[in-house]
């Protein structure tokens, strides 16, 4: 049943062609992005999903987003360009991630997938239970699946052993995986025991028009170091608490501008109190995305003290605003910017201070290129259009691949995930399949209305906006 639907859906997307090379017109896909993390929640994953969806719509694909209800925001919403968002009523358990039972989300997600004639399910973030649920159900329904991993994970403790096992189960029969940096790819391949050939590296992007330099905003009588990050342990705020007094004692014209909020704010406040730096260390609190640029352009140096980072958009934003970037050498950060735009240091107070002092000395001598020339170099490095193009290729590739039928899927689970976890999840997969049969018997696919397309090949958003809106 599920298989049949998929074939039909591929046909509606007007192509059986999997190379994309032979035909001039690349196939159009009906994509469903699934993640627990979406607006109104703010963060890297959220903006990634939004920007990628917008660029894919621009390229003529149909995109819908499924996430869980945020407070009173539930049901269906339309965003710019007819991007449809389903806020599904699923129970949030912890940190905006939904509870998972492997089954309860199937009826709702099946409704979305069938009504929207989805061909590719693209799940985001390994922390999102809903994303893993959606992958699981999509495979049961015979849809192609893509997963994007946005974060790095260790191997040392019990919690990572368990989550890595779940990731192995979730990704063992996923068609393709996208990581945001080469380090992240290595990490994901190891965590989920994957074939590296099915893992693509597509970096995040930054909207360069949002982050333009404005040298007139920089005060000339002082040097300002800007830090914009959540104030949490993983961002190395304790290191920052050591750097501030060290450097402020040495350089009387040095100022710190710190944007962000979090439990480690107290560390910075204590340091500021103890060394009487109230006029030189400003804590701005949580910043809205639109205010970030206004803070960045006031500085000369952008400092990132993260202890782990898969990609780090913040340093690209900083460099795009023409700042000199100083960062810890962790995770994927060394891959992000060319050597002359970034100073990499070890994650220790002394190494970071040394790096910062070098940059300060160069800044004083004026040997850095102008902010505008830095911006000109950075602005074309990471664009969402490029990300969408590369993601499109992943969809094209995936659309030609076979979704494992149930017996092959069970065999794959048992051979790939170990005898215990494999058998358990093979059993769960069978139950999920039976549940799907029950749902298909209760409400056959043919009785389900197709949703009005706001976007995609036959999108009504521009042409008949008034009609498409009350459709849901």
């Amino acid at each position: 049943m599920g298989q049949r639907k998929k074939v039909g859906a591929v046909k509606t997307s007007s192509s059986e062609n999997d190379t994309g090379e032979a035909s001039k017109v690349s196939p159009k896909h009906n994509i469903c992005m699934v993640s627990d993390f979406f607006y109104p929640n703010m963060g890297g994953v959220e903006s990634h999903i939004y920007q990628l969806s917008q660029c894919l719509i621009e390229k003529g694909h149909k995109v819908v987003i499924a996430t869980h209800a945020y407070g009173r925001r539930k049901g269906v919403r339309y965003l710019t360009n007819g991007l449809k968002v389903y806020y599904l009523p699923l129970q949030v358990m912890y940190n905006q991630s939904t509870a998972t039972t492997c089954f309860h989300s199937l009826p709702l997600l099946r409704c979305v997938f069938v009504r929207e004639r989805i061909t590719v399910v693209h799940a985001h973030s390994s922390f999102s239970a809903m994303a893993h649920d959606a992958l699981f159900h999509a495979k049961t329904m015979g849809l192609n699946t893509v997963f994007t991993d946005h974060s790095l994970f260790g191997f040392a403790d019990v919690s990572s052993v368990l989550t890595n096992k779940l990731l192995t189960v979730s990704l063992c029969d996923t068609n393709h995986i996208v990581c945001v940096s080469y380090t992240s790819k290595e990490n994901t391949v190891l965590r989920a025991a994957l074939n590296p050939e099915i893992v693509s590296v597509i970096p995040n992007a930054v909207d360069p028009t949002d982050f333009t330099p404005d040298p007139s905003q920089r005060p000339t009588d002082r040097i300002t170091i800007v830090v914009i990050s959540r104030l949490v342990y993983r961002k190395g705020i304790d290191l920052l608490g050591g750097i501030i007094p060290e450097l402020c004692l040495k350089h009387p014209d040095l100022h710190f501008l710190i944007g962000g909020e979090g439990p480690k704010r107290i560390v910075l406040e204590e340091v500021r109190e103890k060394y009487q730096l109230h006029d030189r260390v400003r804590l701005l609190g949580a910043l809205e995305h639109k205010d970030v640029r206004g803070v960045l352009v006031q500085g000369h140096i952008f400092l990132n003290t993260s202890l782990t980072e898969a990609f780090c958009m913040a340093i690209v934003e900083g460099a795009s605003c023409g700042l000199q970037v100083v960062s810890t050498r962790v995770g994927g950060i060394p891959e992000v910017l060319p050597e002359d735009l970034i100073t990499l240091c070890e994650p220790t107070v002394s190494s970071l201070c040394k790096g910062l002092e070098k940059v300060i000395a160069k800044q004083r001598s004026g040997s850095f290129p102008s902010p505008n020339s830095t911006h000109a170099r950075v602005k074309n490095l990471y664009t969402w259009r490029n990300v969408a193009e590369r993601t499109e290729k992943v969809y094209d590739r995936v659309a030609g691949e076979e979704v494992l039928p149930l017996e092959k899927r069970l065999w794959r689970l048992r051979s790939h995930c170990g005898p215990v976890a494999g058998s358990i999840f093979a059993f769960v997969a069978v139950l999920d399949f039976l549940f799907l049969l029950l749902l298909q018997w209760l409400v056959p696919d043919r009785h389900m209305d197709f949703a009005v397309d706001a976007t995609g090949p036959n999108g009504l958003w521009v042409k008949k906006r008034q009609k498409s809106e009350p459709g849901c």
């Binding site: 260790g154 191997f155 290595e186 590296p196 190395g236 304790d238 202890l307 590369r390």
Partner: protein, 294 residues
Amino acid sequence: MGPDGVPSQSVPWRKVLWERQPFPDNYVDQRFLEELRRNEGIRQYRYWAVVKEAGFVGQQLSCVAIFITLWLYMEQGLLSPETLLWTSLSCALPGYGLYQVLTAQTESCSESRTHLADSQSAVLFLSFTFGFSPVLKTLTESVSTDTVYAMSALMLLAHLLSFPYAHPSPPGSLSLNAALFASVCLASRLPGALHTFAMLTCALLVFALWPCLLQRLRENAPGHFTGACVGVCVGGVGGLGSQSPGGAMLLSLALVSVTLICPLLLVSLQRHKDNIQGPWDEAEIQEDLSRFLH
């Protein structure tokens, strides 16, 4: 660019994202995972060294057995409280002297507690226990004996599980409290108030002071430490054997498995250890950053 691009072998692949490279996105270079490190800083265990360390666990198990044996003798009236008290005292005084000698060997300069402070604590503890022993004796009168036994067994188990075997001096608060709770429970089932006092004094000696002395021995006289452990184990099995041969069998089985078989397992399973490290690991802050705050 993209999975359809044809990789030209003339340009070497670089692990950078900022450069558009003529390789597909899913390209896997030979250098893939080259920064992966396995089993870094792994400790190679030697069997007899592990057995020696496991001896501490074994002797602690035997200490519990010895304590229970003493209690059994007291309960049956085979051991008078006076004898126990005098024996305890005659063990405590040389033990204290030995402890002082061993401490003086290592840390002569650092400020240690004075003898006066030590004797003050001892007097305080003894007088309070003596004063309260009639109360402790009747404490669990309204509780059924079965409950008291079950509770004691549970608490002694908790003592063994939560005992800080790596740094037993001073004994961890949870393990010490569990052991003392168990001894109060058991002591309250003895015939008289003096019995209770003697039992509690003995418990203090076995569960609080002996681990401290043994730790000193482990640090300063490793040879004697092994001897002490073996002695305690033999004493435990022998003592328990005089009261319950079945219990002694079980204890010796437990001792053999803890001190001989478990280390064997650890050493033989060590070669299966596969610990992966790489650039994705969260960096650890090695420095002491509190100096900036205080």
